[in-house]
Structure formats: C-alpha cells, structure tokens
Amino acid sequence: MSQRKRGEMHVMSQRRASRWADIGFRGVAAVCSAMPLVVLAAILAVVVAGAMPSIRYMGWRFITDITWNLGNLYGAISVHGGVRAPAGASYGALVFLVGTLASSAIALVIAVPVSVLTAAVLAYQVRGPLQSLLSFLVELLAGIPSVVFGLWGILVLAPWVGSQLGPGIAHLFGWVPFLGGSAGTGLGLLTSGLVLALMITPIITAAVRDLLMQVPRLYREGGIGLGLTSWEVLRHVCLPIVREGLIGAVALGWGRAMGETMAVLMVGGSALNQLPQNLYSPISTMAAVIANQLDSALTDASHMAVHALAELAALLLVLTVVTNLVARLLVHRVGWTAGARGVRV
C-alpha cells in the first residue's frame, strides 16, 4: 500500500516536473520567437527617432535633391524652421538612392540566371563526390569577406573593366542609351554591379539548390516520361513548383546587394552631387555614404549631419522591406495567372 502510494507520488512529482518544464519551454520559446520582432522594432524606432529632425529639415527633398552637403562645419549654425543646422547644409540623397538601386539591379540581372542554372546543375546534373565538392565551393564563395571582394575588385576587376570590358561594351552597344560614352576609370556602376553579382550569386545558388532538391522526384520523372528535355523539365515542372521560394531567394540576394557596404565603397568611385551619366560613371550607395561620412558628421555641433545619416539608414531599411514586399506581391499575381491557365506541355 505504502509502496503503491510512494509510486503514485513519484509519478505525480514527475508530472509536476514535466509541467514546469513545459511552462519553462513555453516561456523561453515565447521570448526567443519575440526576439526578432522586438529587435526589428527597436532598430526601426531608434533609426526613425534619430531621423526625425532631418525629416523636418529636408522633407521630401531628401529623396528628390542631389546635393549632399554637410554645410560649413566651421561656420555659424543657422536655424531653418525651428531646426538647427550648419550654414549651407543640404541633405539630398537621390544620388545614393539611384546608386543603390542601379548597382543592385545590375547585380540581380547577372546573378539570377547564373544562380538558377548553377543550382539546377548542382541539384540534378551532378552526383556523389562531385556534387558535394561543387556545393562546398559555392558555399565557400559565400563565406569570403566583402573587403576581400573589394580588394580584388579595386586591384584586378576595375582596371580590366576600365581598359577592356567598358570600352568593349561602349563600342558594341554604344547606340543603346546609357551604355555609350566614356568608359571612365573602371571605378563605378558597372564594376560595383559585377562585384555585387559575385557576392550574391552563392547566396541565391545555395537557396535555389535546396528548393530544387525538394521537388518530388515523381514530378520530374513524369516530365521526362512525357518526353520533355532536361531544360523543359526545369522550366515547366521544377521552377513553377518552387516559384515562391525562388522569389524569396532573389529578395534575399537583393537585400544583401543593397545593404553591402565595404566592397561597393571600394570600387564604386564614391560619386557626390552627380547622378550616373552612363554605365561606367562613379556611384555611391546609401550604406557606403553612411560608413564614409559618419566621422565627419560626428563633428557637426548641431548634430544634424548624424540625423541625416540616420534618415539614410531608415530609407535603406524601408527600401529593403518594400522590395521584399513587391517581390512577394509579384509572385502571387504571377502565380494566380499561371494557375488559371494551367500547365501547358
């Protein structure tokens, strides 16, 4: 009797312990899962709060004006509409906005096709040790620090672009607007786009490869059984299945390209106060400007320069979110039309 009772108590205490463990687990899981949201909200709050004086000072001109001028940091501080800023200060970020979008767009145009085809080869065409080796190499490429890409870009790629590729493209496609004109020094938009493409290719490749490997084997075999070629299977069977994830992978790469700082800072040519005139013009991206100008901004006694850089950071954050949303919206719309039409073979 007493033994049985002891047994019952033992079970009860075990139950109690597991109930506590359960509560503990829930608590920890709740805290952990809330973390990304809290951190994102905190970053957004800090950046937007930091940007407020600059938003009041510049208004919409922040994204329509091309003049970026910290003002005379050694002169008097003037007051405009209740906001203190150095005389002559103007924070027009259009040049950096265009630089960011243009360089990341070039990177995507190059990286997406290369990545999808590389991923298809890795997922379907090679087997065994070769597959592991190639996958490993792609992942290794993703791990190279951006400053190394920048160094390689400035020492090897930029001189080649300036002396060979740039003049070559200008010669062949000079009649296309934006592709003609002086090929410059190699430090500029084209080189930035190429370096960024190299940096995001492994990221997109790895994501797309994993997606393609999840496509059920039966579907592919069905396609082959119907007499489709490898390309047709990829185009009409595999890619439609992974479409949503594919857009996610591209958005991931795009976000990385827009936020990349060091490599673009080294090969972009750091243009100021002028929009790119052609594919070879120097550019600046938002991230690079923040890195470049923060130190001078700290010497601004009115602190307006720091607020302007915070607004730049907020704009970059918003841009990343917007491109992500647009990409997702796009995939939903495309998915709906394709679904209505059905699969054509």
Partner: protein, 390 residues
C-alpha cells in the same frame, strides 16, 4: 619597424584572447590562479584595459587609466611609440589607444568617455561653445603632398599652386596641358590628357588640410565649398572618391593622368610605386617640396600667430622655405576630468608628450613621419595643460 608593430598587435591579440579565456574560466572556477595570466597580459601589451588590476606595481600608488580614441593618423604614434615608451617609466598609468577616426575621438572626449580625443583638426567655434571648456592641445606637426601619375612627367616635381588645384577640383581645368599648368611649368612636356581627379571619400584630416589650402588660394572655392574633414565636392566628370590614403595611392597608381592629395606618411611608399609629387607655391611665391626642414620652418614661422587656445590653420605660412600645407595634430581634452588622480596623470602624460626630451623626441616622431612642435610654442601649450583639473 612595421614588423615590430605587427608583432605587437599579434601579441596584443593573443594576450586579449588569454584574458578572455581567464574571464570565462572565472565564471565556473571563481577566483584563484588567474593573477599570473593577468600579469602576462598587461606586460605583453598596453591596450588591454579590461584586466583586473589588483594591487599597484612599482611606486605603490593607485593605477590610473587613460584612454585615447580618434585619428587613424595619430594611432601609430600612440600605439606604436608613445604608449610603450611612457608605460615603461610609468607602470601605474594604464594607457590605451584606438583608431576610430577624428570625429569619433572628438565626440568621445567631449562626452567624457575617453580622456584624449586624437584629431587632425581643431574644434570649430560651434563645438567650443557646446563642449564645457574643451582644450585643443597640439601634439605634433603633420604635412601632406600633392601626387600625380603622369608618365610623361614621371617623378619630376611639377610646380603647382592652390589656385590651379582649386580649378582642377572644380572642373575648370580639365587637361594636363592647360595654359595655367603650362605657365607654372615652362620647359616640361605636358600631355594633352584629361585629368582624373581623385579625392578622399571618407572623413579625413587630409581633406581638412587640402581644402584649407584651396580655400586660402581661391575665392570661389572658399565661398562655395569651404573646408572641413568632408566637403560637398563639386561634381567633376569622372572624378573618383577613394577610401583612406591606401585607397588614394592605389587609385593613383591604377589610373594614368590622375592627381590627388596624400598624407606625408605615405610619401615613401607612393614614390616607390612610381608617383610624382609636386613642389607647391607658398606665400612668398616660392615652390617648395615637403621636407623636414621646409615643414619645420613653416611651423616655426606660424608660432607668433598661434592664439592662446591654439586653434589655428597653419596653411600658407610666411617664409621663403616654408611648405604651405602643414597642420597640428591635436589632443582634444576636457579641462574638467572625473577625478584629481586622472587629471594629474593626464597632465603628466601631455607634458611628457610635448617635451622635446620626451614624446616630442624625433626618435618617436620620425617613424610615423611627424615633425616636432616648434620650441617657442611650449609656453602656450603648457598654459593650456595647466587648465586641466580634477
């Protein structure tokens, strides 16, 4: 010398790692047996300040911590020269230095986060009004040269002046064989090639100096662009912004017909890479090269004009042999320190730093390409240092 610095950095890193391990070990193994490794850490390097300093070594007084952040130009002087030398004699003062950029150093010092903010530029009037009694204490004299990559000219020293340079940087002079450049350089065969304008893209003391020289010599530059560690550069077609002196030198080497300004500490490397540098026109109309003697005579010529707070541009010093682009490197210091011991230690260190027999000895300054402060300046600087209080 370079090797030496790298070795020290490595040892510093190793010591810091050891320290981290010790601290991590402390978590489970509370106390006991870590004093030995602490001692190695503080002996091997001088940047670690997280080490627990139990008990004083040497003269038995309390250990005082002095931190410096700021200019990347001043960092090798602090980290590689001054700190090891000073700490040998004053083991109870724990010095650390970090290369963060002048703006960060100024900001840290004004907020009282560090005792010394290393800066290539003095504080503006607005900053002086804002910070509670900030001091600008000159530590050494620096200079910069204008360099170019023109194969036809090679390493010949072109004659240039501030007005021509301002016009080049505003896009008004665009070819190397422009009449204005030709008239300064009779007899030199200049090519009809477009000038590739290169400038710093990051905040820089070198930009501060160079734009001061342009402002002093071209009214249009002065009114439209002015001077600062960053300015709103005019849009010149094909202009390149490069990061750091290393980025500038690389951009010059990779691009024929380019021109830029480079800190004096890079002179040797850059000339070995095939770049030429200019003789610049000074106030008395002479074209002068940056040498120890021309920099020193320019600094000496300016002493009489230095105000009591020592905030002054040394551009275009008078005298036939004065090099026109020089400046003071500054310690930006709060006159009111957190406590008396820190204030005293800071005063002692700064006194030593400006002493020709101490930190201003050329044996410390030459390896990092600075020139000593002019001797007659000592009175004014000492008066400033005396204002520091606890």
């Amino acid at each position: 010398m370079r090797m030496d610095i790298r070795m020290r950095t490595w040892m510093g890193g190793a010591a810091a790692a050891a320290l981290l391990l010790t601290v991590a070990g402390c978590g489970t193994n509370s106390g006991g047996g870590n004093s030995g490794s602490n001692q190695t850490a503080s002996g091997a390097e001088n940047t670690s300040s997280s080490g627990k300093q139990t008990g004083a070594s040497g003269d038995g007084s309390k250990t005082v911590k002095l931190d410096e952040t700021g200019s990347s130009l001043l960092y090798p002087l602090f980290n590689g020269q001054w700190i090891p030398a000073y700490q040998d004699k004053h083991p109870n003062v724990q010095l650390s230095a970090a290369s963060t950029g002048s703006g960060e150093g100024i900001s840290d010092s004004m907020q009282g986060l560090v005792q010394i903010g290393g800066s290539d530029a003095y504080l503006s009037d607005a900053q002086m009004q804002q910070g509670s009694s900030m001091l600008n204490i000159p530590l050494a004299v620096s200079a910069q040269q204008v360099m170019y990559n023109v194969p036809e000219v090679g390493k010949k020293h072109l004659h240039l002046d501030g007005d021509v340079l301002a016009k080049i940087y505003m896009g008004q002079i665009t070819y190397w064989d422009d009449a204005a450049i030709k008239s300064l350089n009779p007899g030199i065969n200049l090519p009809h090639q477009k000038i590739v304008v290169v400038r710093r893209s990051d905040s820089s003391g070198d930009t501060f100096l160079f734009t001061q020289y342009l402002s002093d010599n071209n009214a249009q530059w002065k009114s439209k662009y002015g001077f600062g560690t960053d300015v709103s550069w005019p849009a010149v077609n094909g202009e390149i912004g490069a990061k750091g002196n290393d980025g500038i030198v690389t951009a010059l080497e990779k691009n024929k017909y380019s021109i830029s300004y480079v800190g004096i500490s890079w002179l040797n490397q850059a000339t070995q890479g095939g770049l030429g540098y200019a003789a610049l026109k000074n106030k008395s109309g002479q074209f002068v090269l940056p040498t120890a003697s021309s920099i020193e005579s320019a600094a000496a010529a300016m002493v009489g004009k230095v105000p009591d707070d020592e905030r002054i541009s040394l551009i275009d010093a008078p005298g036939a042999n004065s090099y026109p682009i020089i400046n003071f490197e500054y310690a930006i210091v709060r006159s009111h320190q957190s406590d008396a011991a820190t204030a005293q230690a800071l005063k002692n260190f700064l006194q030593w730093a400006i002493d020709p027999q101490g930190g201003n000895d050329t044996k410390y300054l030459s390896p990092v390409h600075f020139q000593p402060l002019p001797q007659d300046l000592e009175g004014k600087t000492k008066a400033q240092i005396d204002k520091i209080e606890g």
